[in-house]
């Protein structure tokens, strides 16, 4: 069954406290050289039918309206699992 992957990241200009905490842990454990860490989300949507244009449009809408909140996050990538242009 095809799987569509949606990647969501906190907006670049906003503080990412989770990423900041991980960056602190890396520094404390001797892993130098990382200027920052940012944590996002990956959604895997498994579909039970073909990935057609209607489904693509639907996924685009879901990604923008439900999987992300445009006030605080950006949808950075949608991978439909084929060679088609990505969002």
């Amino acid at each position: 069954m095809p799987t569509i992957v949606v990647d969501v990241m906190p907006k670049a200009e906003l503080l990412d406290p989770q990423g900041k905490a991980v960056a602190g842990a890396l520094a404390r454990t001797g892993h130098a050289g990382f200027a920052s860490v940012r944590i996002g989300k990956r959604f895997e949507l498994t579909v039970d039918g073909p990935v057609d244009d209607a489904l693509r449009a639907n996924v685009q809408q879901i990604a923008e309206e439900i999987l992300s909140n445009s006030v605080i996050e950006d949808v950075v990538n949608i991978d439909f699992g084929d060679e088609s242009p990505e969002a």
Binding site: P10, L15, I66
Partner: protein
């Protein structure tokens, strides 16, 4: 007056909000997230808690509940709606209020008695306060950092829609110390601190007068009762 308090899966302070409504002199009505029936209430409270375990984003899944369709319609028609903590997060996710709430900038959950300034006393939920009055009510959140883009922040401030601001301490990294806002009409108010936990002597924040004697939250609920009497 009948004030509905909606319970979502993971709501924690629904009973406290019902109690606050009762102490203020109105009748609390327990409403359920899965219903489309507001049972004829005159105002609504979305309580604090961790609906759906904060999955996806705080308040996000609750904002898609069946009853939220009715909440949005009622709010747009002018019904008073108060969102406390997780309820505030739901109101932003439902686009009834601007901005969003993100994890506290210091990364930790925080629980403290918080001083606020009441900057807007023309909303349905704050008319009983004096302009500029300082109040103390409990704050308890992990994701209470209010954010919005600069244009939105300027607009909220320019239109007097910042209702509450943190005093002395910004407990969660909220932009411009914003603790709560309202919509243009003044019927929808959302804030992170908890007025329903400061409504009965003996169970509120400490004051200079006596331990746990703070009841600064009560005026939220008496304000909306007074509003309904004026409009009736």
């Amino acid at each position: 007056m009948r004030i509905g308090v909606i319970t979502f899966p993971g709501s924690l302070d629904d009973r406290d909000a019902q109690r606050a409504v009762r102490l203020a002199g109105a009748e609390p009505v327990a409403l359920w997230h899965g219903s489309h029936d507001l049972e004829g209430v005159d105002a609504l409270i979305l309580p604090g808690g961790f609906s759906y375990g904060d999955y996806l984003r705080c308040g996000a899944i609750a904002s898609l509940s069946p009853i939220m369709t009715e909440v949005v319609s009622a709010a747009n028609a002018g019904m008073p709606v108060l969102g406390i903590c997780n309820g505030f997060q739901m109101l932003t996710e439902a686009h009834l209020l601007e901005g969003g709430l993100i994890r506290n900038d210091h990364g930790s959950f925080i629980c403290r008695d918080q001083v606020l300034t009441v900057e807007n006393t023309s909303t349905d939920w704050t008319s009983g306060f004096d302009a500029g009055q300082q109040i103390t009510i409990p704050l308890k959140n992990g994701e209470g950092g209010f954010i919005a883009d600069a244009d939105t922040l300027d607009r909220l401030e320019g239109e007097g829609r910042v209702v509450f601001r943190y005093v002395d301490v910004n407990p969660n990294g909220s932009m411009r110390d914003i603790a709560g806002i309202t919509n243009a009409r003044g019927n929808v108010v959302g804030l992170m601190p908890h007025p329903e936990h400061a409504v009965e002597p003996g169970f509120g924040p400490d004051t200079a007068a006596a331990m746990r004697s703070g009841i600064d939250g009560l005026a939220f609920f008496t304000s909306v009762i007074k509003t309904s009497l004026v409009e009736a």
